[in-house]
């Protein structure tokens, strides 16, 4: 029989190629509203991916990624609205600011871990909307900040509608970012993270500079979350403090768990889960009680995933497919 593992590693990554082709075809198939929703899915997926890097790979707790997402969102929108900058500069600005914020957030992580760190991040998440509302002259306060013209507008030579262009930009940035994160975790950096996650003592004895690594991974995770927030905000052209509450941070955590905390494809599942579930409930259960049903469905999915697929939906499906493939092979040799 042919050798399984080494051969499959060198084979073409069919699934990813198929996914890329599909994702590129989408803007030419579906309506502007659906493209907006999908842009939201991708940007939330990127935020979940950043959380996966921190939690799944580095083993750190964060219930504050909603605030980082929000920080990136406000930075992006204000750079365009108040600073008059083009969207690439706004995205870069959001990334850089949140890199710095993440490094700051990583400082308490050097002293505290587990529950203590979780509580610190919860505090950050809870404070964020209040702080934003307080600086009303800059942020627009409770009413939020709306951009007049859509910043992600298609340049004339492309012949695309604004929603299509925005979707492609979001897709491209998220794709590159997730690819970057994936490669990072497969290389030397990833191995250091693994060591750190297993035991910091063991990591130190193996020559890993744990303090620098912790700050770096926090900064990176925050930067990517901020980039995701900026993308989301530029697509929606609107930010309000109520969107980035503690509940949203916890939603991102739930999305990370549902998709699989170490799975990049799982981040996309998580993003879709967060964006589509309320809408799905609203469409199928009718106006009045759909809100409550959405919350029930949310809790039910979370419980089912934790019980039957604790490593996440994607890992569960992959394991299932592997068993399916192995069974077919066994039947052939029998």
């Amino acid at each position: 029989m042919s050798a399984p593992t080494t051969a499959s590693r060198r084979s073409l990554p069919w699934p990813w190629i198929a996914a890329v082709v599909w994702a590129l075809a989408v803007p030419f198939l579906f309506s502007d509203y659906d493209l907006l929703q999908l842009s939201r899915v991708w940007s939330v997926a990127l935020a979940v991916a950043s959380l996966n890097l921190l939690s799944g790979y580095a083993g750190q707790v964060s219930a504050g990624h909603g605030a980082l997402f929000g920080l990136g969102a406000y930075t992006g929108v204000l750079l365009v609205g108040e600073g008059g900058m083009p969207w690439p500069v706004a995205l870069l600005g959001a990334l850089v600011l949140c890199l710095g914020a993440g490094a700051l957030l990583g400082l308490p992580a050097l002293r505290v871990d587990g529950l203590g760190l979780g509580l610190i991040t919860i505090a950050v998440a809870a404070l964020f909307p209040l702080v934003v509302t307080r600086f009303e002259s800059l942020t627009g306060g409770a009413v939020g900040y709306a951009l007049g013209a859509p910043p992600l507008s298609a340049p004339g030579w492309t012949g695309l509608a604004d929603a299509q262009f925005a979707y492609l930009v979001v897709l491209a940035v998220c794709g590159v970012a997730v690819l970057g994160l994936r490669n990072l975790t497969r290389g030397r950096f990833g191995r250091s993270l693994e060591a750190l996650r297993t035991s910091s003592l063991m990591a130190v004895s193996n020559g890993v500079e744990t303090r620098r690594l912790t700050l770096t991974v926090f900064a990176l995770s925050a930067g990517v979350a901020g980039l995701a927030g900026a993308l989301n905000a530029l697509a929606l052209t609107l930010v309000t403090p109520d969107t980035f509450t503690l509940a949203f941070s916890l939603t991102l955590l739930a999305a990370s768990v549902v998709g699989g905390t170490r799975s990049w494809a799982g981040a996309i599942v998580g993003g879709a889960f967060v964006t589509y579930l309320p809408q799905l409930m609203s469409d199928n259960m009718g106006g009045g009680s759909s809100g409550q049903w959405a919350q029930v469905a949310y809790a039910a999915v979370l419980l089912l995933v934790l019980y039957f697929a604790p490593r996440g939906v994607v890992t569960f499906v992959r394991a299932g497919l592997a068993r399916l493939g192995a069974r077919r092979t066994r039947e052939k040799t029998a």
């Binding site: 309506s31 509203y33 709306a146």
Partner: protein, 394 residues
């Protein structure tokens, strides 16, 4: 030809992935199917309200509106066309409101949309760019700026005006009293404070709390310590009645003025029991649970419609009748409009004169004006333990 192991596993994965992705977009509309504009078919009216989340008590406006539109359809519709009311949930979250509005404007071809509260302020630029009128069930002052946002109208009166009327009443009734404001930490409170102070009332203490926090002992004690003897109470939900009860329990009896949208029988007055006696409010709408309106034909019709169209659980809610009245105003404007375009509707809304409405107090009527609103008068009322009694205002 055998498919080798090398290709099979990734192929299986690719198939699984593509199936998942296709399933994910199965709910999406194809570009060439997305409809736009008002056809000859149903009149599509969109509604995005907080049907879930911390402010879900406000979602019943949607139920009231739905009941009214359903009855209009049962009686033949508007100009022979039925109304298709798309009720969506936004949980008071602006992202979801934006997505809902995009869907209603771009995909469902809505003639006009309805929304609730503060988030609707932020959605005005988008709707203006799409030329879709919005009727906001909101009292925030920015909605009066029709010149900057010609496609947005507000159903509720300006709360700064409510604050002005409340403030001048309190000032003349209780001169020299120390005034305080206990409200929510959202966009509502600044407008209320501005209104009260414009009447010459000085607020000695303003305290803001998060929605749904029911235990407000520390805040009440702070008000008492500051010597506040006239209080404008606007915390909403269960907290509204809890504060009244608490104050009675600790023997603190300031004169209380309730925010008009939070002076319901069912959620505030009944739960507060005897502690609610003597509270004031400014009112422009009827409360279906008030015994005064038990025989009012329009309120009876409202109750019948709520029962008929599956909303009997909300038949005695103030906000439900409010939404019902908003729908009635919309239909009145549509009926009087020269044509069913955005501009036609807006022109008609602004030209309404003396139109009756099921939600309004008996001697009030709808009158359009330069601020885009239809109601400009309030009555100050006092609760005598059983019903509201009108107070004479200067």
């Amino acid at each position: 030809m055998r498919v080798t192991e090398r290709v099979r596993r990734p192929l299986l994965r690719a198939t699984a992935l593509l199936s998942a992705l296709t399933l994910a977009v199965s709910g999406c509309t194809l570009r060439w199917n997305a409809q736009e504009g008002t056809g000859r078919g149903d009149i599509v009216i969109g509604g995005s309200f907080a049907l879930s989340g911390p402010l879900a008590v406000t979602g019943v406006v949607g139920a009231g509106a739905q009941a009214y539109f359903s009855r209009v359809n049962a009686e033949g519709g508007v100009r022979g066309r039925k109304i298709r009311f798309q009720l969506l949930d936004d949980a008071y979250d602006t992202s979801r409101l934006t997505a809902n509005m995009r869907r209603l404007a771009e995909q469902d071809g809505a003639t006009l949309v309805m929304a609730f509260g503060g988030p609707a302020i932020s959605i005005r630029p988008y709707l203006a760019s799409r030329k879709v009128p919005m009727v906001a069930l909101a009292g925030q002052s920015p909605f009066s700026d029709v010149r900057a946002f010609p496609y947005a109208r507000a159903w509720w009166p300006d709360i700064a005006q409510e604050g002005r009327i409340a403030g001048s009443f309190l000032k003349s009734e209780f001169p020299g009293a120390k005034a305080g404001l206990l409200g929510l930490n959202n966009d509502l409170t600044p407008s209320q404070a501005a209104g009260l102070e414009s009447a010459g009332l000085t607020l000695a203490k303003t305290i803001k709390v998060a929605p749904n926090v029911v235990d407000l002992g520390p805040q009440v004690n702070e008000l008492r310590a500051a010597g506040v003897d006239v209080l404008f109470l606007s915390v909403g939900g269960a907290a509204q009645s809890a504060v009244l009860r608490l104050m009675a329990q600790i023997g603190y009896h300031p004169k209380v003025m309730l925010y008009s949208a939070q002076s319901e029988y069912t959620t505030t007055l009944k739960p507060a029991g005897p502690a609610a006696e003597g509270v004031y409010t400014t009112q422009w709408a009827k409360d279906p649970a008030d015994p005064r309106w038990a025989d009012d034909p329009m309120v009876r019709q409202f109750t019948a419609d709520m029962d008929e169209y599956g909303h009997s659980v909300d038949r005695d809610k103030l906000l439900a009748l409010n939404g019902y009245g908003a729908a009635a105003a919309v239909v009145e404007a549509l009926r009087e409009a020269p044509d069913l375009t955005a501009e036609g509707f807006l022109e008609s809304w602004d030209s309404l004169r003396g139109a009756p409405n099921p939600a309004l107090l008996p001697d009030l009527s709808l009158n359009g004006g330069p601020d885009g609103r239809l109601i400009r008068t309030y009555q100050v009322q006092r609760y005598d333990g059983r019903t509201w009694q009108r107070e004479n205002t200067p």
